[in-house]
């Protein structure tokens, strides 16, 4: 599977701003214009670990826009800290991404 998570981090004064881009259709499910329907397909859970500790955990419905973007700020971060990201969707799909500050 192609890498679906892209992450940009900005470390400043001991706090890191994480900007996260995920490639995912985020389908609500429902009727198509031609009459048939399509199944919901969306990320249910997304999380970020800093040095193995979960610092952000998001439970999503299909109300998050397609190809989700998420930004948050983690304090107490320093160069060399390990960041791990993970998402899982309602159809069993999942992806992880790991990086270092």
């Amino acid at each position: 599977m192609m890498k679906s998570i892209k992450v940009r981090t900005t470390l400043k004064n001991g706090s890191v701003t994480v900007r996260m881009f995920v490639r995912h259709p985020m389908h609500v499910g429902g009727p198509r214009k031609n009459g048939d329907s399509y199944a919901p397909h969306f990320i249910q859970e997304i999380s970020c670990q800093l040095n193995g500790e979960i610092v952000m955990q998001g439970h999503w419905g299909p109300g998050i826009a397609e190809n989700p973007y998420l930004s948050f700020i983690v304090d107490n971060a320093k160069v060399g800290d390990a960041l791990a990201f993970r998402w899982s969707d309602n159809q069993g799909g999942t992806d992880v991404f790991e990086t270092k500050l």
């Binding site: 999503w60 109300g63 998050i64 998420l70 930004s71 700020i73 983690v74």
Partner: protein, 169 residues
């Protein structure tokens, strides 16, 4: 009097080996348990029921019980007043509250009002920016859970084209 106190003291000393073993055991178990908890950080189970609710009142009741959630100026929702495309609406929620444990985003007019619930760790600031879908014009509610209590902020967004309608795909 003095003598009896001494006596009591010696009593305590007498049972202390057992006590010491107990406290040692208790200490040992706490030492084992704490790093595990710490390593886990935040881990909250999915509020599945709240995602099934069809109205904002139900979502609020499922997530926060019957508590009356006060409006707060300290929570800032930064987003456009007029969303031309409801399928992608950037939203930024900021709060100066310390120790924010969770931020929930709810769109009143969406078929599934609860958009997302973010649980934040102790080292995570009260800040979330993302992009959401809006079905039609209505309030967007941000609910922030802190150690001081639960607070909310609302903002009315005009939506020109809804983002949850019939798909072209």
């Amino acid at each position: 009097m003095k003598f009896s106190m001494l006596d009591k003291a010696s009593n305590i000393v007498a049972i202390s080996p057992r006590l010491a073993r107990r406290t040692l055991l208790a200490m040992a178990s706490s030492v084992i348990v704490t790093p595990l908890l710490w390593a886990a950080g935040v881990s909250v189970s999915r509020p599945s029921e709240a995602f099934k609710d069809k109205s904002i009142e139900d979502v609020m009741r499922t997530l926060f019980g019957d508590a009356n959630i006060p409006l707060s100026d300290v929570i800032q929702i930064t987003m456009t007043d007029l969303a031309e495309n409801g399928a992608v609406v950037p939203i930024k929620i900021q709060t100066k509250f310390k120790d924010v444990s969770a931020i929930s985003i709810i769109a009143v007019e969406n078929p599934i009002p609860l958009i997302a619930k973010f649980s934040l760790g102790k080292v995570t600031s009260g800040f979330i920016a993302t992009r959401i879908k809006l079905a039609k014009t209505g309030d967007v509610v941000a609910v922030v859970e802190t150690t001081e209590g639960i607070f909310q902020a609302r903002k009315k967004i005009e939506v020109t084209t809804g983002g949850c309608g019939v798909s072209d795909r």
